[in-house]
Amino acid sequence: MTDQHSPRLRRPGRLWVQLLRIGRAAGRTTPGTRLRLWALMTASAAIALTALAMVTTSATFDGRTQRDTVRGPLLAGDAHEATALWKEAIDSFGASPHSIIYVEPLATDTPPPPGLSRWPRPGEVFLSPELAEAAKDNNSLERYGRYAGTIDKQGLRSPSERIAYARPAHPPANPTAASWQYITGFGQLFPMNQDIYPHTKAETVGVIAVLMAVPGLALLVVATRVGSATRDRRSHLVNALGASWAHRAVMNVGEAFTPAAVGTLLALIPAAVLLATDVRLPFTGYIVNADDLRHAWPQLIAALVASLVLTLLLVVVLHRVQRTKTATRPSTSSSHVPKWRLVLCGIGVLAIACSQYAPKGPDVVVFLAGTVLMWATLPSAVAMLSVANGKRIAASGYRKGNPGRLIAGRWTAAHPGVLVRLSVVFIIGIGLISHLQVWNSRLGDSAAAAKQLTQRVGDTLLTVSSSNLTPRATEHLARTLPDRTHLLATTAHPEGDHPHIDLAGACHDLKALRLPCPTTAKPITTQDPRLKELAAPYQGNLTVQAVDGALPTGRARQSLIVAADEPGHRAEIEKAAYAVLPGINVETPGESWVIGAQEKNRLNYWLYLFGGTGLGLLLVTGLISAAAEFVRIRRGLAPLSVLTGNTRIFRTIATWYLTVPLLIATCIATFITNWHSLFFVISLREGKFSWPVLATAATGFSLAAVTIGLLAAHSARRAAPSWRPEAD
């Protein structure tokens, strides 16, 4: 070596750049390059998307809390220092509830609630954009007063929130009696328009981690290992040449950097959309506020950079040189399945089975821990079975001189990792679909019953209740109700051995409901589903009495009902009722239960959103894993098929190497899912297990197993003629 070369060697930076270049060049020439490129790009995009989802979730929760704090009323200690009156009422359009915030400014210089450009004038209402849409759909835009415009999103928890700010036509005569609050302004966290989404920020991020990050990482592992044989050989070679782990890491990073960076950059597209405009999420209908993410842009950039670093880190970690090997020669069965995974799977099954005997509380933890353990290690157990099966297939192929079975059997026995990666998609996919169904039925049972009730009762009988219902207000309401409707009064007697509800009204109104007209309270039996529902909370006991003059109202447990001769009057009735008494409650019998059930049912949509995304990622993982095997089959058999002209072998091998083990995995997953789901339903005594859903999932995955085999054979058969021997 001459001295003139020495300065160049003293610059270590050059070596790293050179190693990066070597890695990048290797990435262009390794077998299956294009597949790995796309796979890595997709995987890093999935990881970046998960990071984006987590940052968006965090920013959204923070933004919601901040806006909730700004708009919460500051309660006045004394009526004299109050600047406004404030009260909340609950109503609904269909099965979606919303709050109506009644406000009455007491001073002219009081700032209006956040999101409003001014105070509503007497009899005016501001609606959130979503509520305005729903009101229009229900023909009730002016239910709470004259429509004055929409509430700006600065005053909304999210742009999809349903809320109204209304001002009564007349200032309340006795605010305290009518449940008004005296306030001095806005600016504290106050429970108003509470939604039923029960999860905290940490819990939601946890759900995203389980349903999106885990499949995303699985995808990354599979993508990283596509065509890994050549890369492993290279790692061993450079290791033998004296390269340190850092040198190898830099080479691997050089190879993976471009697709990983492009994948991460792809996540900038949804990020840009989320930053630019409010986005409605699929399934849930929730609108993400762009302002929230804009405030969190540093975290967003940090999360995307972290996702890229994580991707590259995993690429490096997954290409470690195995120091436990005792030979330098490449092993054909280095990817054996460790036995401890089978033990863990057994422990998982045992934990699930024993969870029923654990004390209340820990039983759920034991069940969940067992579930995670079982599902995580089941693919390995299936792969171990497949290895044994592969040996049997090879032996039978040898005995019968069937080259397809011989090769497929040997491959299956030598490469269990392939089956672990492929069957993980099948097993977790079937499990996920079935469990989403069970969860859905758990939350959806009461929703379905509620829907039946709504259909049974219709909208021709409405209960009208308020703690401030006076005889004068009742009289006013009777006058403003539309034609062909009838106002009656109820008095509930829920206590005692004989709970009952009394129905009182003018004789012609009772007759409209096909009821008798007794002058004293008389128990009756009715087949009218509306009245049966009305009496249901009182063991079905209903008494009827005709009254002449004012209806009995204004006392505890007394309320009104409005019966209509035909459907379609609800909007008019509600408008009339709200005009008489702000905050009055108008609903069909059992409606609050219907709304509660439907609200719970809507929680399922979040499961669909995150679970569906996770399932999609798993499917991509499976496709990439299968495609990698297509490359392998093609490369392994092309020389022989070219020389012998036998292309039928591809189909036989694909059948025995891919289709049959995947069908076995599907059968095992179906059996285990059936057991696990039934166990879940029985343990919780909630929800229903659906055989048709599991059968459909199993059939779908069986068809996928057959399709994967056919595609692999087809791709190998098509590519074989273009094979040319490689030589130095």
Partner: protein, 232 residues
Amino acid sequence: MTHTPPLGGGLQIKGLTYQVGDRVLLNNVDLTVDPGKSVAVTGPSGSGKSTLLMCVLGLIKPASGTITAGGHRLTGLLPGSLTKARRKHLGMVFQFGELLPELTPVENVALPMLLDGADHHRAYESATRLLEELEVPHGSTPTGMLSGGERQRTAVARALIAQPSVLLADEPTGALDPKARENVADQLFRICRERDCALLVVTHDPAVADRADDEFQLQESALIPVQRGTHA
């Protein structure tokens, strides 16, 4: 086992021309390898040595010329007939063996016969005998666990199992250490001679080329006979 050389056996190449675009790789090449004889073709990288083998195998189509193996013309055949003729008359040893590492040596060697629908007992028997002849262990060890030399000798056995009239070898010792190279080359030339198989070997290695009965250098698209003792 009896070895019946086919009538008019060996390999005859006449007037073979192959070009890619404007570049002529093989220009009117003539070559004859008689049964039991061997010919080595040497030449710099990119001179067209492997292209010559690809033409003989029928994997690429020459612009003109004829190729005959075992008395059967290979050029001008339809794909189905070409595959059949290739299967019957040609064997090929690749530089990297192109074996299936998960299979045992016996299974790898028997594979061409199995794929041809031959009796599997006869295939395993022939494979075992060939491996013994080439001194390759033939137990249940996967081929991938054998040494490089053993793997390459397995590839030679696989190329010979169908008793072809012509054996083509593309850098058969290119990936081996010197000792293994000597061993594989010895066995390759010996077994072809004993079986009356015409051997055409493409190599960079002068030691391998020296073992051949005749040696040619591919220069400027033509085969030039090499006078022995002229290697650098």
